[in-house]
């Protein structure tokens, strides 16, 4: 195995273009190193952590956020500005692993690892986050929801690297939230994950995005769930419609972590709970 340390994303792309065999970019390594220990050692490992700026969290000109690809969960969860704007994204990232894992694990790694159960991905999708992708074909911006293609597969082309994560500006009176269901309290993989981001005008929901994890081969946006919320004051009727839409979404599977039936049920329960939290937060927000 060859270990490379590029000084820029352009160099990283060039290295990946010249390399042969299995090429992997290394962020926190909490997925990659575990897999390597199990025997899946890539031919070329390109470590992104030495590129200037990868640990930065910055305000963008439009009032959103730019997050470097090596920023670990622990830095994100301690960032007051991010916490105020996107508490749901921050709480989702904060659920990954344990204190030790938080010191390394990045949301971009979580996304590029392409697990259907990745915790930060539904929250990023609900938030409308995007990533900047750099490759032999140039630079492009891609919605987070368009990156995963299926378990362990992304829509990144050969040699493409994610160079930054972007969160949009938080809308006035907006709030987001994320919860997952696991049989334990931590160190577990989501049986279902649910994120809701919404904005309010007074008590009325004006905009909403609902995303679910572990209900399909990739995390998904549930339009029906979102429309169940818009125009309502989150009364029982809206919650019931939301819950039904969440339960009906996707095509969950039966596996050792839960049956499809159980996943559908829990998706409905979580959607309700998460919407209530997001609604509260939006009410408290300026």
């Amino acid at each position: 195995m060859q270990y490379l340390k590029p000084a820029s994303f352009e160099e990283a792309v060039a290295m990946a273009g010249e390399a042969h065999g299995d090429v992997r970019f290394l962020a926190g390594g909490t997925d990659l190193l575990v897999r390597m220990r199990m025997g899946a050692v890539p031919d070329v490992l390109i470590d992104l952590k030495h590129i200037p700026g990868v640990y930065d969290i910055e305000r963008t000109e439009n009032g959103g956020w730019r997050i470097g690809v090596a920023v670990p969960g622990a830095e994100l969860t301690e960032h007051a500005g991010l916490r105020a704007d996107w508490p749901g994204v921050v709480e989702a990232v904060g659920l990954i692993g344990s204190t030790q894992v938080q010191g390394r694990a990045t949301p971009v790694g979580n996304l590029a690892n392409a697990s259907p159960a990745a915790d930060s991905v539904p929250a990023l999708i609900a938030a409308g986050a995007e990533v900047e992708v750099l490759g032999p074909g140039g630079r492009r911006r891609v919605a987070v929801g368009d990156i995963p293609a299926g378990p362990g597969r992304t829509r990144l082309a050969q040699g493409e690297v994610i160079s930054a994560l972007y969160l949009p500006p938080r809308a006035a009176h907006g709030g987001d939230a994320y919860q997952r269901f696991i049989p334990r309290t931590e160190m577990d993989i989501a049986v279902v994950g649910c994120a809701v981001s919404l904005s309010r005008d007074g008590n009325v929901i004006t905009e909403a995005r609902v995303a679910l994890g572990a209900m399909a081969p990739t995390a998904l946006m549930v339009e029906e769930a979102a429309s169940a919320l818009v125009g309502t004051t989150l009364g029982e009727e809206a919650l019931e419609a939301l819950s039904e839409a969440a339960s009906a979404a996707g095509r969950p599977i039966d596996d050792k972590r839960g049956t499809a039936k159980f996943r559908r049920h829990v998706a409905g329960v979580l959607a309700r709970r998460v919407a209530l939290v997001a609604y509260e937060r939006a009410g408290d927000a300026k």
Binding site: G39, R184, T185, I189, K256, T259
Partner: protein, 764 residues
């Protein structure tokens, strides 16, 4: 406790060893454990920390099939790979073995058939781990896949695939499937007459899944075998004499040819009482002439070490309106993998051991399936029995409107009770644990919505076993104790405390070492909660032996009879005015002169103590249920257990808490999940869910001390009983919170939701 067939499980009534009721100076205090600094600084050497010059790395090829005939193994391509120094298959082990030795050989290296997913079929030693792993891919195995069975009830059905023809022992009821290999029946009275006296009889079916001990340290060893046929083995184990015995037998050499040293151990809980990789490493070392290191991966630990049995059980109990139990009956079917000796007789014998029953009958069936060979796990067989029995007792109390502790007190076994499994109990402490539980503030604390409280009792035999200890005095009067029982729970501290008590010297003056197999007489495994009892008794006796010798030296010096000398505060004193007037001789003074006064001084003890006192516990637990998701949170947990005499109370409490934590995992989320293909689906800690720290409340403990007549200080083993009540206690708490009975473990969220749904459907 090992399944040593034919060995009596003693109640302890024949021993009268209890001779020191205190007051104690050292026993009962809480000094730091002597191995603590090494363990927290990383200096302690565990199984995988052994290295030798020229060492090779080994890897094992394992069957991907649950059941398959091995038609051919071709190792030639692997042997030809650069860096490969040896490849072994079954042909490299002894032939003509019988009984359990044959079973163990068959388990560590497959013969004609692969019997479970993960069964070893060949092994390689090479100059690096990577080469060894690559070599495995070059070994060609031709399998003929056979139908398999992994469920205990299915394995007993007519038409189930036969694991091994002719494995059944005599004494089985007629018409049993060949997978049923052993049968147990015991009890007394006339149960039907007893049930006729009852106001309410409840009969229920229960099932538990196999769980793993979940020790954090995987099996690991370093083996060496020279051209002279003499070898050394370093390994992580609960019993190195047993490793020596088994390796010698499986390799066809004499026991003394292999010296075994036990490393520090990162958890065992019964799972390290046998061998899995050690004979394989020895065979590779013998064939290659080089030291060979073999370390299991976590996946291998799950697939191919020794999990518990899974169980299918039926329990029937009759009760009068006043709470008197009139009769009890149980049938317990355990699968222990593709081999005999699932501990079903322990399940049967423990099931009703807490109760004074006129009419009781229990049956056990030992069933083979295509799973790994079960190994001991803390009180093997007992936790599932308690789950079934204590659940029925709880339901009876509920239906009759009776308090669960009062009912248990009314029926509790006491001194003189004829135990359900035969013997008459000597002094025991069940009643005292129930009384302490009733008096504990936990029992009367208020409960909130969706919360339930569960009570359960549990029983374990405890064990003695062959024990040998040497206590050597240094020239400066400090003491070095060699014991043969690996320290799996702080036992070095307890040994030092007992020796300090006897010799009247400071705890810090005593060093306790776990000796290798060449340095001490035979020692049974650290199992059966026997270490503080048996090695402790041996340390006390060895100290008394040394004391006698010290006294003789003083008597000699003073020119008086040894009977006229007494030992007090670490010194010899004239016993009274008649003895004469001499200044006391301290242990330091006597030892400084020992070379000239008769030679080195050491105390010894070798025996098989048989007075291990049985032990009982009562647990209280509060659980909260999220009725929308089926998720359970354990809110509060209290362990009340009889320790006889707590030598080091902190480590006794640690055992109480550890057993409760493991039991909570077993009850809620731990399970072996097999797919349709007979392959284990969850061989890792991500999907094999042991509780993490944040899943548990601080577990409260109450130590009850009802002395064991079989130990000089009254000590009873405490390591195993603590895992007997939790399955039942948690199930009772969850059932009470849910308003519906859960009779299948684990109580994972989806299963609880289904039970809630079934109840609603039933009502609607």
């Amino acid at each position: 406790m090992a399944l040593d067939e034919g060995k009596d499980v003693k109640g302890g009534h024949d021993a009268r060893e209890y001779d020191h009721q205190g007051p104690f100076r050292h026993v009962g205090t809480r000094p730091d454990r002597p191995d603590g600094v090494d363990k927290v600084t990383g200096r302690a050497h565990f199984g995988a920390d052994a290295y030798a010059p020229g060492m090779l790395h080994a890897a094992i090829l394992r069957s991907p099939h649950a059941h398959a005939r091995i038609l051919k193994i071709d190792t030639s391509r692997a042997e030809a790979l650069e860096g490969v120094k040896a490849v072994v298959t079954r042909a490299d082990f002894a032939e003509g073995l019988e009984g359990e030795d044959w079973n163990i050989l068959e388990n560590i290296m497959a013969g004609e058939k692969a019997l479970y997913d993960g069964h070893a079929v060949a092994a390689v030693a090479a100059t690096s781990k990577f080469i060894a792993r690559d070599a495995l891919a070059l070994i060609e195995v031709e399998y003929e896949i056979l139908p398999h069975v992994t469920d205990v009830d299915e394995a007993m059905q007519p038409g189930a695939p036969v694991i091994r023809e002719g494995a059944a022992e005599p004494g089985l009821p007629e018409g049993m499937h060949p997978n049923v290999v052993r049968y147990h029946e015991s009890g007394h009275g006339d149960v039907e007459a007893g049930f006729a006296e009852a106001d309410l009889v409840i009969q229920r079916h229960f099932a538990t899944e196999a769980t793993h001990q979940g020790y954090i340290e995987p099996h690991a060893c370093l083996a060496q075998m020279g051209p002279d046929g003499r070898g050394d083995l370093w390994c992580t184990t609960q019993g190195h004499w047993n490793v020596q015995k088994l390796c010698a037998s499986l390799l066809g050499v004499e026991a003394s040819a292999i010296r075994v040293t036990a490393s520090e151990i990162g958890g065992g809980f019964g799972g390290k009482t046998t061998v899995f990789i050690e004979p394989v490493a020895m065979a590779l070392a013998r064939k290659s002439g080089r030291p060979v290191k073999l370390v299991m991966s976590r996946e291998e630990v799950f697939r191919a070490s020794g999990p518990t049995s899974s169980a299918s059980m039926d329990v029937r109990i009759g009760m009068k309106k006043d709470g008197t139990m009139t009769a009890a009956e149980g049938t317990f079917r355990l699968q222990g993998g593709a081999f005999p000796y699932a501990p079903m007789e322990f399940t049967a014998m423990c099931a009703f051991a807490c109760y004074d029953l006129k009419h009781v009958r229990q049956r056990g069936f030992d069933v083979m399936t295509n799973r790994p060979k079960q190994a001991a796990y803390r009180a093997p067989g007992s936790p599932m029995a308690a789950f079934a029995v204590e659940s029925v007792v709880d339901e009876l109390c509920q239906k009759l409107g009776l308090d669960p502790i009062e009912v248990r007190l009314k029926n509790a076994a006491r001194e003189g009770t004829r135990a359900s499994y035969g013997p008459t109990y000597p002094r025991i402490g069940l009643v005292e644990t129930l009384e302490a539980a009733r008096a504990h503030p936990h029992y009367s604390a208020p409960l909130g919505p969706n919360q339930g409280r569960g009570i359960a009792c549990g029983f374990w035999f405890n064990y003695g076993g062959e024990t040998s200890v040497t206590l050597a005095l240094s020239m400066d009067g400090t003491v070095q104790i060699a014991v043969g029982t690996p320290d799996i729970g702080g036992s070095r501290a307890s040994m030092a405390l007992m020796a300090a008590e006897e010799l009247g010297i400071p705890y810090e003056d005593i060093r306790v070492t776990i000796a290798d197999t060449a340095s001490l007489g035979f020692n049974e495994i650290s199992h059966g909660s026997r270490v503080t009892y048996a090695s402790g008794l041996a340390v006390i006796k060895a100290a008394r032996d040394a004391k006698r010798k010290l006294i003789a030296r003083a008597a000699d010096k003073w020119g008086i009879d040894p009977e006229a000398v007494e030992w007090r505060d670490g010194a010899a004193w004239p016993a009274g005015d008649n003895a004469g007037s001499f200044e006391p001789l301290t242990i330091r003074e006597i030892c400084a002169e020992m070379g000239a006064t008769g030679g080195p001084i050491a105390g010894h003890y070798e025996a098989t103590p048989e007075g291990a006192g049985v032990s009982f516990a009562t647990h209280i637990v509060d659980a909260e249920l999220d009725p929308e998701t089926g998720k359970v949170t354990i809110l509060r947990y209290t362990v009340v257990q009889d320790a006889g005499k707590a030598v080091h109370p902190s480590y006794v409490e640690g055992q109480f808490q550890g057993g409760a934590a493991q039991g909570i995992g077993w009850a809620l989320n731990e399970e072996y999940i097999y797919g349709e293909d007979g392959r284990l689906q969850n061989p890792g800690f991500l999907d094999y869910r042991i509780p993490v720290a944040s899943d548990l409340p601080m577990i409260d403990t109450v130590i009850v001390e009802v002395p064991n007549p079989g130990h000089p200080y009254g000590v009873r083993g405490v390591g195993e009983t603590s895992i007997c009540p939790p399955l039942a206690a948690v199930a009772n708490a969850v059932s009470n919170a849910a308003g519906v009975r859960l009779r299948q473990l684990p109580m994972r969220p989806a299963r609880i939701l289904e039970a809630l749904e079934a109840q609603t459907d039933g009502e609607g």
